[in-house]
C-alpha cells in the first residue's frame, strides 16, 4: 500500500462503518451497498488481471458462479459448514483457473477473449444442465444465511462482513501492486517480450494473477449465495462477464480504485434508471456511450484530468 492510498481507504472504511446509520437502517440501501461490495471484489481481481497485467477475461462470471454454487450445493445438499464450503469454492476455482489458465493465457488479445468467453459459457451451460446438483435453470434455493456466535448475519451485519472482505482484498491488492510482483505484472502489460528479456517469467505471472482473480470472483460468489439465498444460472451468464468488464473500463482499468468506482457506477445506475421502464435500456446504453466517449480512460482518470485542467 502506498501513502496516497491511505486516505481513500480510511474514507471507505468510515463511510461503511456509519452507512447503516446514515440511511436509518434502510434495507434497500444496505442491500445495494452489499451488491456493490460483491461486484467490487470481482472487479478488483479483474483490474489486477486487465488493468495491470493486460490480459482480458470474458469468463469471470463463471468463477463467480463456481463460488456461488460451491457454497450453495455443499451447504444445502451435503450440510457442510459454510466456511468449509467457502474454502472449497476457492480451492475449486483456483484449480480450474490454473488448469484452464495455463493453455489459455498463451493466447493473445482477441483470441484470449474468445477462449475465456467460451470457457465461461461452458460453465454456464453446466450450471444449467447439471440439474441434480444445481437445480438447473429453475435454480437452487434455501441457501442458509450465515450465523456467527449465535448472531444471524443479516442487513448491516452482512454489510460489514462483505465490506470487511472488500477492504481486506483491497489492502492485499494494493500490496501486490506496490511490490516486486506488481512491477513485474506491469512489465508484462508493457511488453511481454521485453519482460521476458528482463528475466520476468511472464507466463508464470500471468497464470498466477489469473488464478488470483478467479479466487476473488469465487469469494464474491460465496458471499452472493449466502446473501440472496437463491441462485440460478442467469446470474452467471456471459452478460454478467461483459458487465464486469464494462465496470472495469468505465471506472478506469489502470487503477484498482477505478475498478471499484466502476462497480459503484454500474451497480447504482440501473437502480436510478429503474423508473424509466421501457426507456431503461435506451438510457443505460446512451449513458455508457457518453461516458466512454468523453472519458475513454475511465471516470477516475477523466475526473482527475478535469480537476487538473481547472487548477492550471
Amino acid at each position: 500500500m502506498g501513502k496516497k492510498d491511505f486516505y481513500p481507504l480510511l474514507f471507505v472504511f468510515l463511510i461503511i462503518a456509519i452507512f447503516p446509520w446514515l440511511v436509518g437502517g434502510n434495507e434497500y440501501y444496505i442491500s445495494i451497498l452489499i451488491f456493490l461490495g460483491i461486484n467490487g471484489i470481482i472487479t478488483m481481481g479483474l483490474s489486477l488481471l486487465m488493468g495491470y497485467t493486460g490480459q482480458i477475461s470474458l469468463g469471470h462470471a463463471g468463477f463467480f458462479g463456481l463460488g456461488a454454487y460451491s457454497s450453495g450445493i455443499l451447504t444445502t445438499q451435503y450440510s457442510i459448514h459454510p466456511l468449509a464450503a467457502f474454502l472449497a469454492g476457492i480451492f475449486l476455482s483456483a484449480i480450474i483457473a490454473f488448469l484452464v489458465g495455463k493453455p489459455t493465457l498463451r493466447l493473445k488479445g482477441h483470441y484470449m477473449a474468445v477462449a475465456t468467453l467460451g470457457f465461461g459459457e461452458i460453465l454456464f451451460i453446466v450450471f444449467n444442465e447439471l440439474s441434480p446438483l444445481t437445480g438447473g435453470p429453475s435454480g437452487l434455493s434455501g441457501i442458509p444465511i450465515l450465523t456467527f456466535m449465535g448472531y444471524s448475519l443479516e442487513g448491516a451485519r452482512y454489510l460489514y462482513l462483505v465490506w470487511g472482505f472488500v477492504i481486506l482484498l483491497l489492502l492485499f491488492s494494493l500490496n501486490v501492486i506496490n511490490s516486486r510482483v506488481g512491477r513485474a505484472l506491469r512489465a508484462v502489460h508493457g511488453s511481454e517480450i521485453a519482460a521476458n528479456a528482463m528475466g520476468v517469467d511472464a507466463s508464470r505471472y500471468k497464470v498466477q494473477v489469473f488464478v488470483l482473480s478467479a479466487v476473488y470472483a469465487s469469494i464474491a460468489g460465496s458471499l452472493y449465495a449466502h446473501f440472496v439465498t437463491f441462485i440460478s444460472p442467469s446470474s452467471f451468464s456471459l452478460m454478467f462477464s461483459i458487465l464486469l468488464l464494462m465496470m472495469v473500463v468505465v471506472g478506469g482499468a489502470e487503477t484498482i480504485w477505478g475498478a471499484l468506482l466502476g462497480a459503484m457506477v454500474l451497480t447504482l445506475l440501473p437502480e436510478y434508471l429503474r423508473g424509466l421502464e421501457d426507456f431503461e435500456v435506451l438510457a443505460y446504453g446512451g449513458i455508457l456511450m457518453v461516458v466512454l466517449l468523453f472519458m475513454p480512460q475511465g471516470i477516475l482518470l477523466g475526473v482527475r484530468k478535469l480537476f487538473e485542467k481547472k487548477r492550471n
Binding site: M50, G54, I56, P103, T104, R106, L107, K108, G109, H110, Y111, A113, V114, A115, L117, G118, F119, E121, I122, I125, V126, N128, E129, L238, M239, I242, L245, M246, V249, V250, A253, D278, F279, E280, V281, L282, A283, Y284, G285, G286, L288, M289, L292, L293, P296, Q297
Partner: protein, 297 residues
C-alpha cells in the same frame, strides 16, 4: 427416420446456421481488418436487418426485392452513422475502450429496437412458397436454399470487391498496415467508414434472409454476435476465408451436437471444440502465428 436421413437433416440445419454465422463473422472480419476493433454491435445489425425487412415488406407492403435492397441500405447507413458518431471522434482511446463503446452501442440499438418494435418476435413469409421439400428422407424448407444462394452471392461479391476493385484493394492494404497505407495516399479514415457500412450491410443481409425461418426479436443480437465472433476468431482473425469456414464448422457442430448428443449441451460442444482448437493452434485455423504473437489490446 433412418440415421442417414437424420444426418442429412442435421447437416442442412447446420449449413443454414453456418451461413448466418459465416456472414456475421465476415462482418466482424471487415471491421477488424480496417480498425483492429471487434464490433460487438455486429449482432444488432442482423437484428435490425430482420426487423426493418419485416417493417418494409409486411407493414409498408413494399415488394420483396425492393424491400430487401432498402433494408440493406438503411442498415448500412446506420452502420456508417455509428462509425461517424461513436468511433471516429475517439483518436487516442485504447482498444478495449473502443470495444466497450461498440458494446454500449449494441445496448443502445437494442433499446431503440425494443422501443420501436416491442418485445415480441416477428415473422416473415418465406421468399418463395412455404411448401417443404423432401430430399433423401429429410424435410427441408425452401427458404434454406435462398439462404445458401444469397450467402454465396454475398461472399462472392465481397471477394470480388476485395480482389478486383481499387477500393477493395486499398482496404486490404489498410488491414496489413494502416500507416503504410496512408503513406501511399490511401484515405484510411474513409475506408474505416466504408468498412462499418459494409459490415452492417452484410449483417442486414443475414438478418433479412434468416427471419422467415427463425423469426426475429429485439434481443437476438448478442447470441449471434457471440457465435460470429467465435467463428471470426476460430478462422484466424482477419482472414475472410477462415471466418466463413469457421462459421460453417460452428453451425454444423452445433446442429450435430444438438441432434446426436444433447440439445442442452449443444453450445458447450461447439465451444469445447473451439477451445481445443485455440489451445492447439493459438492463432486460429488460418491466422498467422507470428502476427497473433504481437497482438494485444
Amino acid at each position: 427416420m433412418s440415421l442417414t436421413s437424420q444426418l442429412i437433416q442435421f447437416l442442412f440445419t447446420g449449413l443454414t446456421l453456418g451461413s448466418i454465422y459465416a456472414l456475421v463473422a465476415l462482418g466482424f472480419t471487415m471491421i477488424y481488418n480496417a480498425t483492429g476493433i471487434i464490433n460487438l454491435a455486429q449482432g444488432e445489425f442482423v437484428m435490425l436487418g430482420g426487423l426493418i425487412m419485416v417493417f418494409c415488406t409486411a407493414v409498408l407492403k413494399i415488394p420483396l426485392l425492393i424491400g430487401f435492397v432498402l433494408t440493406v441500405a438503411v442498415v448500412m447507413l446506420l452502420g456508417a452513422l455509428f462509425e461517424r458518431l461513436a468511433i471516429h471522434p475517439l483518436k487516442n482511446a485504447s482498444m478495449i475502450t473502443l470495444i466497450m463503446i461498440t458494446l454500449a452501442a449494441s445496448i443502445l440499438f437494442r433499446g431503440v429496437a425494443m422501443f420501436l418494435w416491442g418485445k415480441d418476435p416477428y415473422g416473415l413469409p418465406a421468399f418463395s412458397g412455404g411448401q417443404s421439400i423432401q430430399l433423401w428422407g429429410a424435410t427441408l424448407q425452401p427458404q434454406i436454399f435462398w439462404i445458401f444462394g444469397i450467402t454465396f452471392l454475398a461472399v462472392f461479391g465481397i471477394g470480388l470487391f476485395f480482389n478486383r476493385t481499387l477500393t477493395g484493394k486499398a482496404m486490404t492494404a489498410c488491414s496489413f498496415n494502416p500507416l503504410a497505407a496512408r503513406l501511399v495516399g490511401i484515405n484510411v479514415r474513409k475506408l474505416v467508414l466504408l468498412s462499418f457500412g459494409l459490415s452492417a450491410a452484410v449483417g442486414a443481409v443475414a438478418g433479412a434472409i434468416i427471419t422467415p425461418i427463425t423469426l426475429m426479436e429485439y434481443d437476438r443480437g448478442p447470441l449471434l454476435a457471440l457465435k460470429g465472433f467465435a467463428a471470426a476468431v476460430l478462422g484466424g482473425l482477419g482472414s475472410g476465408v477462415g471466418a466463413i469456414a469457421a462459421g460453417f464448422i460452428i453451425g454444423i457442430l452445433e446442429s450435430l451436437g444438438a441432434g446426436l448428443i444433447s440439445s442442452g449441451y449443444k453450445d458447450a460442444i461447439a465451444l469445447l471444440v473451439l477451445l481445443v482448437i485455440l489451445w492447439v493452434k493459438p492463432s486460429g485455423l488460418l491466422g498467422s502465428a507470428e502476427e497473433s504473437q504481437l497482438k494485444k489490446f
